[in-house]
């Protein structure tokens, strides 16, 4: 089965001693036969997003199996115009935001300004932390018809994610923290397999945690195939 991993990073992790180097990411891709992955440099998360984005593009130039994801740190954002259009022209395939690590809220003008520029087939990937956040971001992105991929949702947030996905068709979910015993079965039944997208958060997380959970889920092979690689392809057209 072809694997596309929508949630990977590379670079340096300052908050704990964990090897998230590009070398490690490539090793994991080879070992687990991951055909391609969406990725970005952590320099853009922790240090400065424009430098981080440049680094991401540079790496992707040499490794076509890595699909470039841009990021913006809204604590530093200056209000530059047409930023989304520029990112798309540079070759980025998605925008990923880290309000969980950067501690900015969704009700925050620098973020809302960018939302107005988004739309079409350029997905927004957002890490969620805190009850109510999924509801907020679902509502905001639905107003602008932005494809939203919820990242890093675990058992504490599944109920909210299910309700938001049922209300808003533009919302998808990534699986790196699909950690309860029957969560694939529940999401497949409640929102359909087409809106579930495989991610591992490698190399920061062990790839096998999310992969084994999906492999052993009691859903059909066809549904696993959609989740593992087919669903994300619609955003690459």
């Amino acid at each position: 089965m072809e694997i596309v991993d929508v949630n990977t990073i590379f670079g340096f992790w300052p908050r704990k001693k964990i090897d998230i180097s590009l070398k490690k990411l490539l090793e994991i891709m080879k070992k687990y036969k991951i055909r391609s992955c969406f990725s970005l440099s952590t320099k853009g998360i922790f240090y400065e997003y424009e430098e981080g984005n440049k680094e991401t593009l540079e790496v992707c130039k040499h490794h076509p199996e890595i699909i470039p994801v841009a990021t913006i740190d809204f604590r530093r954002y200056f209000g530059k115009k047409n930023i989304i259009k520029d990112l798309i022209n540079e070759g980025f395939k998605a925008l990923r935001l880290f309000p969980d690590l950067q501690a900015w809220p969704f009700n925050y003008q620098p973020f809302l300004k960018i939302v107005e520029e988004m739309g079409g087939n350029f997905p927004l990937m957002v890490s969620i932390s805190g009850l109510g956040k999924t509801t907020e971001i679902g509502k905001i992105t639905n107003n602008y018809k932005i494809p939203l991929i919820l990242m890093g949702i675990n058992y504490g947030y599944f109920a909210e994610a299910l309700a938001v996905m049922k209300k808003y068709r533009n919302v998808y979910i990534e699986t790196s923290l699909f950690d309860t015993p029957d969560i694939y079965e529940i999401f497949v039944r409640e929102v359909g397999p087409e809106r579930i997208i495989f991610g591992s958060y490698s190399p920061f997380h062990y790839f096998s945690s999310s992969f084994l959970s999906l492999e052993r889920a009691e859903i059909s092979s066809k549904e696993k195939q959609l989740i593992l690689g087919e669903n994300i392809k619609r955003f690459l057209k």
Partner: protein, 251 residues
């Protein structure tokens, strides 16, 4: 590779989990090739400990692959003593757990007077010498350290191994031989297993999943992928737990 799961729960959670019957529990074990599970009641932990312990006792007797931890609530000390008298003569209850520190039991802590009285009574009246403790963060680690030193006859399992402070847990308990680290967590951070194996040794690490809250496959993946030897994986998945359970049987 054979697996013994030393950290599981039977019952419902306030999260969208449907597989909460005993048949579901056994099916999850089978799907993940788990030979034995040691279970505590989720109802006992998050609501009424007496009702939860009874519900667990009722299912344990029918399933040879299951053993139980008795949960006690230090807010109800006299009733906790009665629960000990009621259940700890039963061979299926092999210890106490998953004992909490704050959270579900309010402000009570593992190193508080309530739990210490419970542990003293365990030593005086019963043969069980195993305690699973929900060990989260530095506060959990240092409270367990105090109690483990005060009760060296008891083997303590540090559930979640102090997550997210697993390095601190491994360093802290390196010379405290009656503490074992149990690995489960919702955050399968890379290098976690390698780090604790290097610091404390694989012989002091045991497998737990937190099932039915957490999918055992999610935790199995951490060990399978870790860069440690096959022998070390076998110790974590199986033989360390087997030894702990045998100690209980031999007493």
């Amino acid at each position: 590779m054979k697996i013994i799961d030393l950290h599981t729960h039977y019952g419902k959670w306030f999260f969208p989990i449907e597989k909460d019957s005993i048949n579901d529990f056994l099916d999850i074990m089978k799907r993940n090739e788990i030979e034995i599970s040691v279970v505590s009641s989720s109802m006992a932990i998050i609501y009424d400990f007496k009702e939860g312990n009874k519900e667990l006792a009722d299912v344990l007797m029918y399933h040879p692959e299951l053993f139980g931890y008795l949960f006690l609530n230090p807010n109800y000390l006299k009733q906790s003593f009665k629960e000990m008298d009621k259940y700890l003569q039963n061979e299926k209850f092999i210890g106490l757990g998953e004992l909490y520190d704050e959270g579900y039991i309010g402000s009570k802590t593992l190193n508080g007077e309530g739990y210490k009285q419970i542990l003293k009574r365990l030593l005086e009246k019963f043969s069980q010498r195993l305690v699973l403790f929900h060990c989260g963060g530095k506060r959990g680690i240092f409270r367990l350290l105090e109690v483990a030193k005060e009760f060296p006859e008891i083997n303590f399992i540090a559930g979640h191994m102090g997550n997210p402070e697993w390095e601190t847990a491994a360093r802290t308990f390196k010379r405290v031989k009656n503490v074992y680290l149990e690995i489960c967590s919702s955050f399968p951070c890379r290098d976690k297993i390698e780090t604790v194996v290097k610091e404390i040794g694989a012989q002091r690490i045991v497998f737990g999943s937190d099932s039915t809250l957490i999918n055992p496959a999610f935790i199995i993946g951490m060990v399978v992928e870790s860069d440690i030897s096959k022998e070390e994986k076998e110790k974590i998945f199986y033989s360390n737990a087997k030894n702990l359970l045998s100690e209980r049987t031999n007493k």
